[in-house]
Amino acid sequence: MIRDITLGQYYQTESVLHRMDCRVKLVATLAFIISLFIVDSWWGYVLAALFLVLCIRLSKVPFKFMVKGMKSIVFLMLFAVVFNLFLTPGTPVVSFWKLRITDAGIRMALQMAIRLTMLIIGSSLMTLTTTPNHLTDGMESLLNPLKKIKVPVHEVAMMMSIALRFIPILLEETDKIMKAQIARGADFDSGNLLQKAKAMVPLLVPLFIAAFRRANDLAMAMEARCYRGGEGRTKMKPLIYRKSDYAAYGVLALYLVLMIVVGRILPI
């Protein structure tokens, strides 16, 4: 069940997007998300959708795979849509009991649905084409200027990559402990909420202990290899922009200009 969540997962394949410098992808994703929320025009959304489709085709990640990831956030989407639908002031279109649906509400709800869908597909496209290590590398490199104001950029990036690395390890550990307790007659599926919560204790206690043990071992291993933070640390594979990366920045700039122009001349 836990394994079905594709949000934030990496999809192994060979494509232009996979080869692209992670910094470009990070900047592009951020710019794309901001553009989604700034633009206020249907044609703008069409343009954004076209850009997204182009990127998806370039990434060679099956669309099916992305839609699977969407399932986990359907609830959040519904929540946002319903609230916008009923709580936006404006001229009422339909009203019953204490609820009113206004024309502005319908528009806001629709906009919200479009924005959220593209936001999630856009950002999962980034994680699908970038390994967690690259992701944190890129983030560290982009946030580097913040070091001047004493932000511990390297440490934060290191914590992030360790946290990401621990996800599959802990999933595996959970699976093992679950099986071991099932072999001792544990039942994780039946009973009411309270019984289910109680049944989790034999799973959670060993899992926490395992997590601490792993963390301890890792800390020891890092110290044994003289890890002392980011000061003076060099990279085995330093991030270097190539021509294609500059070209990608160019495409991104073009997209942003188009978005602004479209938003100006063709508002809702």
Partner: protein, 283 residues
């Protein structure tokens, strides 16, 4: 109360590109009261196989019968199966969670829905079987030594009174002393209760002294299934699949090559000693 596997196949991730055929056409019978060693190199499918024995994994193809009944039939209670086929995983001490040793051992029988007195009687007996006296009852399981923790975990499964006990690498990560203690305890337990024991290991040395039958796995199939002396006769084939016969087998084989009339099929050190002394006397 035998457990029978018929043409069991298991494929991990069968609907993805990364499908792995972990078990190939396994046919196996575990009768009452037998001590079986299940041996194979890392990745040979041992652990996958043992998870089929108590219904944790469902075979992709093939059937498993307990006491003549298909365990994947809807009416067959998995809980009942798991109380009859006790499975001790690798590093079982990682599953301990209770505040004290005694309560942790009580967890299994409690899950079976037994009355409190019965639960405690079973836990008491299980702890005695693994050689832990009452002074440990109120200790936290996390304060014990590695070997002791493992014995508590094994007791946790024993307390369910299984008819078949399956142990997946019970000696992994223990020092030689801890290893001998655990193996000795298992052999003792087998003698005292008469249950079937399946001992999974990658070391011939470990099992040679204890088991009456050896099943050798290689790449998901059963390579040999016979009494130890027969299995150890296939030294070459065993080495080809990354295993080794016990040291004594090698010594005896070399002695035969040097012209001594020793019995090559002796599997334990005691047997080897006898046959060498015999050869010296008569020669």
């Amino acid at each position: 109360m035998s457990l029978k596997l018929e043409h069991v196949n298991y494929i991990y991730g069968s609907d993805t590109k990364l499908a792995v055929h972990a078990l190939k056409d396994i046919c196996l019978e575990i009768p009452d009261g037998q001590f079986i060693g299940l041996i194979g190199h890392t990745g040979s499918g041992k652990s996958t196989l043992v998870q089929h024995l108590n219904g944790l994994l469902e075979p992709t193809e093939g059937k498993i019968f307990y006491d003549g009944r298909d365990i994947w039939e809807k009416s067959f209670s998995k809980k009942e199966l798991r109380s009859n086929v006790g499975l001790v995983f690798q590093y079982p001490e990682h599953q301990l969670f209770e505040v004290d040793v005694f309560s942790d051992v009580c967890y299994g029988p409690k899950n079976l829905g037994l009355p409190k007195e019965e639960v405690e009687a079973r836990a008491r007996q299980a702890l005695r079987l693994v050689g832990l006296s009452e002074e440990y009852d109120k200790q936290s399981p996390f304060e014990l030594s590695g070997g002791q923790k493992r014995r508590v975990a094994i007791a946790g499964v024993l307390a369910m009174r299984p008819k078949i006990l399956v142990l997946d690498e019970p000696t992994a990560g223990l020092d030689p002393k801890g290893r001998d203690e655990i193996l000795g305890q298992i052999a003792h337990l087998k003698r005292e209760t008469g249950i079937s024991v399946v001992l999974v290991s990658h070391s011939m040395e470990d099992v040679a002294n204890y088991v009456e039958r050896i099943v050798v796995m290689n790449r998901g199939s059963v390579l040999f299934d016979d009494v130890p002396r027969e299995v150890f006769g296939h030294v070459k084939e065993l080495e080809e699949v990354g295993l080794a016969a016990p040291q004594v087998t090698y010594i005896l084989h070399q002695l035969v090559e040097c012209g001594f009339a020793v019995d090559r099929q002796a599997t334990t050190i005691a047997e080897a000693r006898d046959t060498i002394l015999n050869a010296l006397k008569t020669g």
